[in-house]
């Protein structure tokens, strides 16, 4: 089997998940210039809620087609996360919109801790297995790489979602309101845009994407954990910065790039360093690349923001 092609496929699948989560960061940052630190936790909640529903449904009606059960889990997780995202904004960010800059960051961190621990209290500290038997088990051979049905579904779904999101932002009334709010909230308000509603919708959209990403990642790796949101969120945020935060295409590109880089890096680092560094350095790549890009081109690959608040 061709290692390069295999790692490329793995990287693209991983990158799709990063991209979906990164979109949530970038949407919010584009409008509020705020890092929604609790976004990784929203992803984790999506994954856990979906798994809980899937597990319960599988127990009650094991005869249902597997895809239906997984879809049901997804359909519960998405609105649940939307509600969560909406509440996070209302509770933690809206009251602090004119507070010193670090204050919302700290509430976000506080909320992350709360969400993590709530998840731990509900679902325990152990890994929760995704009943992978529910999903098609097919494997296909593409250019020497083995790709599963689940991975194909993830890639296709990601492309569809990205296309839908771009259409939403560029073609709809809500999208226009979002862009206006991002440019100048005060002026947008004067022009009749309900800025608060726009901000709420941004959080809701981002959270829906996070829920989908959460289900994807647990389906791909076959497990979920109350702590999974942390590293995932961190890397997704790195991806958003890599692509140029506040920029939709940038988040997608950054996510995919980061995923591929990580997978290839993990596959080849042993050979490159003569066995000195092993594949457990995988997590370093995200940060290393990030530091390099930010040092050389701080606005990210596709970013064009010139004025930046300190």
């Amino acid at each position: 089997m061709d290692i390069f092609a295999q790692q490329l496929v793995n990287g693209l699948v991983l990158g799709s998940v990063y991209a979906l989560v990164a979109l949530g960061y970038t949407l919010v940052y584009g409008i509020l210039e705020l890092i929604n630190f609790a976004h990784g936790e929203t992803t984790m909640m999506g994954s856990m809620i979906a798994l809980a529903v899937i597990g319960a449904l599988f127990g009650v009606a094991p005869d249902l087609p597997g895809i239906m059960i997984v879809l049901a889990g997804l359909l519960v997780a998405i609105p649940a996360c939307m509600l969560l995202g909406y509440s996070i904004e209302r509770v933690a960010y809206r009251p602090l919109r004119h507070a010193p800059r670090l204050a919302p960051l700290i509430t976000a961190i506080g909320l992350s801790i709360v969400l993590q621990n709530v998840a731990m209290l509900i679902w325990g500290k152990q890994y929760i297995a995704f009943p992978t038997t529910l999903l098609p088990q097919g494997r296909h051979n593409v250019f020497g790489a083995s790709i599963t049905d689940v991975q194909i579904a993830i890639l296709v779904l990601t492309v569809v979602i990205m296309f839908g999101l771009v259409t939403l932002v560029n073609r709809t009334r809500l999208g226009r309101a979002m862009r206006a709010t991002a440019q100048a909230p005060a002026v947008a308000q004067l022009m009749g845009v309900n800025v608060n509603a726009v901000i709420s919708s941004t959080f809701i959209i981002g959270s829906a994407l996070a829920a989908i990403a959460g289900v994807m990642v647990s389906a791909n790796y076959g497990q979920a954990h109350y702590y999974m949101g942390f590293l995932l969120g961190l890397k997704a945020f790195s991806a958003a910065v890599l692509g140029g935060i506040g920029n939709l295409a940038g988040a997608m590109l950054g996510g995919l790039l980061l995923g591929v880089l990580e997978a290839l890096g993990a596959g080849y680092i042993g050979d490159l360093t003569g066995g000195f560094l092993g594949s457990h350095y995988q997590d370093i790549f995200a940060f290393l690349v990030l530091i390099l890009v930010l040092t050389l081109k701080p606005s990210g690959l596709l970013g064009s923001r010139s004025v930046e608040r300190a």
Partner: protein, 355 residues
């Protein structure tokens, strides 16, 4: 503030009262709450040092550093490697501590140099990445050459020994028995005093004002003739040095270090101490450090509370305390976004914003 105002004219009285209180505090704590709280008190002192160090970077210079724990780790591992059976070394503490602090300071410059151009959130994420990289290296530098002993960490680290007196054992001095945490308390207190003194002198010095100028408006600061590059690097280096110092003390006190002690959560805890207490204000930062160290520990008693109210323990208090801590963080920020004791300058700014 009234009490402080009253004591302002009587500096020596304040100093004597404070000193007496601080010297007697461990006796009272050990007698009333037990040895475990004495250890917590020691940790609180360590965190005060850390928070004051980070306060230089975040509070004064306005550079949001989310990877501060890396310097703590560097200091701790310096001590661990130079005074443990791992390499068979056992250097005296007055050699290791400055070495560790200096190396940590060097790392500060190392981090500062490539990030000079970055500001705000970008800086936050890069420093965060830096912190994670250090942790991952500590975790994996056990093969092919075993330097850090990997995830198992380094054990049997030598305690501080002053004039043949080991702080790691219970000692009897002038007929009074001092337990090990009790002895460390005095050592830490000394260092905290040193750090507080340095911070206070810095605050109104040329350098301190330059930091604040950079925080408020970097371009204006540069136009006013401040060498922003050097001054920012100095902030990173100073902050990192304090981090390295407390790291070394931590390693000797704990007798054991592992990469798990230096995760992002730790950086976040230290940052929340500063923000909670009041950024840029030394007293605020000290208060924040005390609260953030003590509250999660105090929340362990929720188990007893549950037993008293419901007759049994529903939720393991160890699981509950972080949850409650998170809620406390959120509430604190919603009620007092500028922290408990905002610095004067910040208060002025907030008042201006309101008008």
């Amino acid at each position: 503030m009234n009490v402080l105002d009253y004591l302002k004219g009587k500096a020596w009285l304040t100093a004597v009262l404070l000193l007496l209180g601080l010297v007697l505090l461990p006796f009272m704590v050990e007698a009333s709450l037990g040895k475990s709280w004495l250890r917590i008190l020691d940790f609180a002192l360590l965190y005060i040092m850390l928070a004051l160090g980070l306060n230089i970077v975040v509070g004064y210079a306005g550079l949001l550093d989310l990877g501060y724990v890396a310097f703590y780790a560097v200091g701790a591992y310096c001590w661990a490697l130079l005074a443990s059976p791992h390499f068979g070394l056992n250097l005296p503490f007055w050699v290791i501590l400055p070495t560790g602090a200096a190396i940590a300071g060097l790392f500060g410059v190392l981090l500062g140099t490539p990030t000079l151009r970055l500001r705000g959130d970008y800086l936050a994420i890069v420093t965060l990445g830096f912190g994670e990289i250090i942790r991952i290296f500590l975790n994996n530098l056990n093969a092919p050459v075993n330097i850090t002993n990997g995830p198992q960490g380094i054990t049997q680290i030598e305690p501080v020994t002053i004039a043949g007196l080991s702080l790691g054992k219970t000692q009897e001095i002038f007929g009074i028995t001092f337990s090990s945490p009790h002895l460390y308390y005095y050592l830490f207190l000394l260092f905290v005093a040193l750090v507080v003194f340095v911070c206070m002198r810095l605050e109104n010095s040329r350098i301190g004002r330059a930091w604040v100028a950079i925080r408020e408006d970097e371009m204006a600061a540069a136009a006013a003739g401040i060498n922003t590059r050097n001054i920012k690097l100095l902030a990173f280096a100073m902050g990192a040095t304090f981090g390295g110092l407390s790291g070394g003390l931590f390693a000797s006190f704990q007798g054991f270090v592992s990469p798990e002690s230096f995760n992002l959560m730790e950086s976040i805890m230290i940052l929340s101490m500063i923000v909670l207490g009041g950024m840029g204000n030394i007293y605020g930062v000290i208060l924040g450090a005390l609260l953030v160290t003590m509250i999660p520990e105090a929340l362990r008693y929720t188990g007893d509370l549950q037993r008293a109210v419901f007759g049994e323990v529903f939720i393991d208090p160890a699981d509950l305390r972080m949850l409650l801590f998170g809620i406390a963080l959120v509430l604190m920020m919603l009620l007092r976004p500028a922290g408990l004791l905002p610095s004067k300058l910040r208060r002025q700014e907030l008042a201006e914003d309101a008008t």
